[in-house]
């Protein structure tokens, strides 16, 4: 595995992969991250993946008797990286997300269709047919950065961001698609909404998605959306 290691302050290490957004790098990130998490060294706070990196946050108090704690952690990581085979595959779940497209729940669907020079129905069709993967979560609790959008329906961000976008809104920004996990201001083109909660503290698993998940969007009607919510 071709990676480099850098201090991210005195209580974290940043592992850098080839700096690109690709399926190959995602697989490397996921495989190394999963290997470290399965191992769960006692000094590990958490492993946080980026597009092409993993930040390893560690508990320096647990390493207090080490001569050079940073060296101890990076030596462990290097050894771990050696054992991880380069592979395009990694353990991946598939999560299906229902979306009610257009209308009040997707006010920008027409604008996206116009930008692409196709009908709204065609945008819906193409949006459902993408091969989607969650690269990472961030920006808000449970907010996924999803790659794999059909470039023909890519659309620029809104000129004037909305002050409040409801949780569950499905949007497009450039070649990314995403789902708002909480209500927040935002500039994405909103083409629909899911009744599924991406972040719910009442649930045992508070976060619906994890980095590395495959996603399938499927279309539901307004009526089904309302029934789901009840």
């Amino acid at each position: 595995m071709n990676v480099t290691y850098h201090p991210l302050g005195d209580q974290a290490v940043l592992i850098h992969f080839k700096q690109e957004v690709s399926r190959e790098v995602l697989a490397e990130v996921q495989n190394l991250k999963q290997a470290i998490q399965e191992d769960q060294p006692e000094w590990l706070y958490e492993a946080v993946p980026g597009y092409a990196s993993i930040a390893i946050h560690y508990d320096l108090v647990k390493l207090i008797h080490e001569q050079d704690p940073y060296e101890t952690v990076t030596t462990y990581l290097k050894e771990k990286a050696e054992t991880v085979k380069s592979s395009k595959d990694f353990k991946q779940r598939t999560v299906k997300i229902p979306v009610c497209y257009g209308g009040k729940l997707g006010p920008d669907l027409e604008e996206v269709a116009e930008h692409a020079g196709i009908s709204a129905e065609e945008v819906i069709k193409r949006h459902q047919h993408g091969d989607y993967t969650v690269y990472m979560l961030g920006f808000a609790p449970g907010f996924p950065y999803i790659g794999g959008l059909d470039p023909s329906i890519a659309a620029p961000r809104k000129n004037n961001p909305r002050t409040a976008i409801p949780a569950g809104s499905v949007g497009i920004a450039g070649e990314q698609t995403g789902v708002y996990s909480i209500e927040t201001p935002g500039g994405w083109q909103i083409i629909g909404r899911t009744p599924e909660k991406l972040f719910d503290l009442q649930r045992d698993e508070s976060f619906l998605l994890r980095a590395g998940d495959r996603i399938e969007f499927y279309s539901i009607t307004q009526k089904e959306f309302e029934e789901w919510q009840q």
């Binding site: 991210l8 302050g9 005195d10 209580q11 990196s53 050079d68 961030g138 920006f139 609790p141 449970g142």
Partner: protein, 330 residues
């Protein structure tokens, strides 16, 4: 119950942070000044990472509806308990019906109040910390407001013993001023070069360590914005988002650095010129907007050696506090 008469500028419940969920986009939050949290909790017989009330620039006025054991640490807010000066860095027994009144912080920016038994608010994903923007955790997910009533947990036997003892005879000692001064009295922040340090122009790198930076008034629990010469980085706008940490100094396109603090996002897309050493974070977060700081380069090994030393001092201090508290007549 604790009755909030005046909330102060920003008073929120914080502990050591919500760890283990950054991968899911959940920020850590937590107390800004870990140093004062640990001491305050130890003084009242709590676990050192128990939730405390963090106060900012202007402190609150609160009424105690039951007898409580408290410790106030961090910045000096000229606190009064029933119009008498309240000692800092010391366990204090307050009687039912007493009022704690705090003013503008004379020295420093942030203080903490620990109560014996801790604040009785629900843990969310393993932490009592308040994540203000997402309205999660702490007291109703927000800073304190007028007329709030906050429950206090039951005192542990250790905490109760200290309380009874201090109630019958107030202690006359405080945590050594020499020790707290050593931690806080510093305006030169030691910095480990960041991941993208080499990508900054030579002038910018030199400038970063030469000039004084003023802490902007647009600073909060998320980060301190700094005013100074613009810094230039060749990578600007061409970086993939990656993990950041408490004390990361990142430089957005406008060239003015931001030091990321307790409420930082989990990921950042700006070049990181440096990272403030953990031992200097308590001094940094005590700076008020308008105050100036400098940066000084150190290595990762030096930063960790300083951490070890600080941790050893803390364990010694904790031992001394505990020994003193055990020596109290109960």
């Amino acid at each position: 119950m604790i009755h909030v008469i005046e909330p102060g500028l920003l008073s929120s419940i914080q502990d050591n942070g919500r760890r283990g969920h950054q991968e899911s986009g959940m920020i850590i939050s937590g107390v800004m000044d870990i140093f004062s949290m640990r001491i305050a909790n130890t003084l009242v017989g709590n676990d050192e990472n128990e939730a405390v009330l963090e106060i900012t620039l202007t402190g609150p006025t609160i009424e105690f509806q039951e007898d409580q054991l408290i410790a106030i640490c961090g910045a000096d807010f000229s606190a009064l308990i029933d119009d008498q000066p309240a000692p800092l860095w010391r366990p204090v027994a307050v009687k039912k019906g007493s009022t704690l009144h705090m003013k503008f912080s004379r020295v420093g920016c942030r203080g903490v109040i620990a109560v014996g038994g801790g604040f009785d608010v629900p843990e969310v994903l393993g932490s009592k910390s308040t994540y203000l923007r997402a309205e999660i955790g702490g007291f109703k997910g927000r800073g304190l407001e007028k007329e709030d009533l906050i429950s206090v947990g039951k005192r542990s036997s250790e905490s109760e013993r200290i309380f009874q003892s201090v109630l019958s005879e107030p202690v006359q000692w405080s945590v050594s001023r020499a020790y707290t001064t050593e931690v806080y009295d510093r305006s030169v922040m030691r910095v480990i070069p960041g991941k993208q340090y080499e990508e900054f122009t030579e002038e910018s790198r030199a400038c970063f360590f030469d000039q004084a930076y003023k802490i902007s008034k647009h600073s909060d629990r998320m980060g301190f914005r700094l005013d100074g010469e613009n810094l230039e980085c060749g990578l600007q706008g061409n970086m993939l988002s990656e993990g950041v940490a408490f004390g990361t100094v990142q430089v957005p396109a406008d060239g003015q650095p931001i030091v990321l603090l307790a409420d930082r996002q989990t990921l950042g897309g700006y070049p990181k010129i440096g990272q403030v050493a953990s031992v200097d974070l308590p001094a940094l977060i005590q700076k008020k907007p308008g105050e100036s700081i400098h940066f000084e380069e150190i290595s990762i090994q030096q930063a960790q050696a300083l951490f070890k030393e600080r941790e050893k001092e803390w364990q010694e201090l904790k031992w001394m506090i505990t020994a003193r508290l055990e020596g109290l007549d109960g």
